[in-house]
Point group: C2
Chain length 246, copies 2
DNA sequence: TATAGTTGTCTATGTCAATAGACATTTGGA
DNA sequence: TCCAAATGTCTATTGACATAGACAACTATA
């Protein structure tokens, strides 16, 4: 650490204002500015990061765009929103339950659905024949009106014929399963990786491009161990964390 | 998807060459080019991503810098390295065991160590008094000579007095614990998040700036449930994935 | 041994990112 | 009411990013 500067990297292909925006967003999520409810003054941040004030302003404007801060002339830059949802991952992982008390309003939107033939990968995950019919659901989950995950799920089509309608009605996989007679299911495995957000996810999750997504690939099975759902979910990395309790 | 273009984002604060480098790196890791052992020609990539050939070249040069590809005039751009290590996270999670057969050589380096007083956070995690003495170890783990994680660990200092030497000798936390009489320990909880790499991590993990890190915060305890280690580890997101088996 | 296919190099141009400085405007408190 | 502190706006300059086109150099193979 030379002269107290925090680390930002030039010529890395990631603009300084974006690096700084990410750092400030993280600091807000970690509660570092809770004492004042404000981000430090632009001049101070510029000094801390070793950049020009205008560069800090670009970063703050990006955060304002996301609705995380609001700049008020004369007063400072106020923190509007500060949340990091925690998702426990366990044998009984369920999305809505996972959010629990962390949000008042929970919502599940069906963006798209299709009935198609299982690719080699999906067939392998669901332990069915390649080409067997599967249902694919594209869903968006929200907590307190803010999008927190974008999922693509596959289900064996024969077993869960009315699933699309059941999900649309309830906004919950668990409820949809129950409506189709599957009372209980268990998480078999969860893979976690991270990527840069792109494409439709950016728009759906209301992120600024370049944001980081946590990606989970999850397999759920019924109590006999027969796979019932394979899901790839993307979460904004600055809004969530996963907890694995053993 | 308009005209088959893959999604890259302009004016996002993340340079196009970096977005493309990340995508190609991921495609290599996913084995998409295994048939040829080569990345597609620059012209084709440029077309796919909807950018100029020079932009693709910048991306490939970054990957060459990382040792992932090697361009050969007249032949193409050959894939040099292609790996994604899988780390199972369970009650018995251990780093060296986790790598298992995925690498021949495993190595644990002690970068730095210190004896200091527990901050509020560390004291809370280890369930000790604030200000109580703790040992902090900065370690770097390698598999087949390539760095795969950078960890900062805290231990109760009184219980594990000779730990620093024991770790330096063995390069393994498990072995160091055993040398100090702790035969067994269990993973209590693991939190997973993701950030942009910065600072010392960049250098230690030999990444190009802007790369994504998966971050785990793990708590280990002895068989009585008394915390023995709290560790914050950073893994290059394009080289690893975590698997939670239930 | 041509030739198609591929990477390497060069020049040129426009846009975005970052710095620099000056000054206006608003707020809250002395 | 005045002043310090903070954000808002403007102009100007430099370097990195991205595009465009042309051509050189190398490789494999028909």
């Amino acid at each position: 650490m030379d002269s107290g500067h925090q680390n930002v990297h030039r010529q890395s292909g990631v603009a300084l204002w974006r690096q700084i925006a990410d750092r400030i967003r993280m600091s807000i999520a970690n509660g570092e500015y809770d004492a004042t409810g404000k981000v430090p003054p632009e001049m101070l941040l510029a000094e801390q990061f070793g950049v020009n004030r205008h560069t800090v302003r670009s970063a703050l404007q990006a955060l304002a765009q996301e609705g995380i801060v609001r700049a008020v002339q004369g007063r400072g830059t106020l923190i509007e929103r500060k949340e990091r949802l925690n998702f426990p991952i366990s044998r009984r992982t369920r999305f809505s339950q996972g959010i629990g008390e962390q949000a008042r309003e929970k919502e599940g939107l069906l963006l798209d659905s299709a009935r198609l033939s299982a690719s080699a990968e999906i067939a392998g995950r669901l332990a069915i024949e390649i080409g067997a019919p599967v249902l694919r659901l594209e869903t968006l989950r929200k907590a307190d009106r803010r999008p927190v995950s974008r999922s693509t799920s596959w289900f064996p089509a024969e077993r869960f014929a009315g699933l699309i309608e059941a999900y649309r009605d309830s906004g919950s996989i668990t409820a949809a399963f129950q409506a189709l007679g599957l009372q209980d299911y268990l998480r078999v495995s969860t893979e976690v990786t991270a990527i840069h957000a792109d494409g439709a996810d950016l728009a759906d999750l209301q992120l600024s491009p370049g944001a980081i997504l946590l990606v989970t690939k999850a397999l759920n099975a019924d109590s006999e161990g027969v796979p019932v759902q394979y899901a790839v979910s993307r979460f904004p990395a600055d809004m969530v964390q996963f907890t694995i309790e053993n």
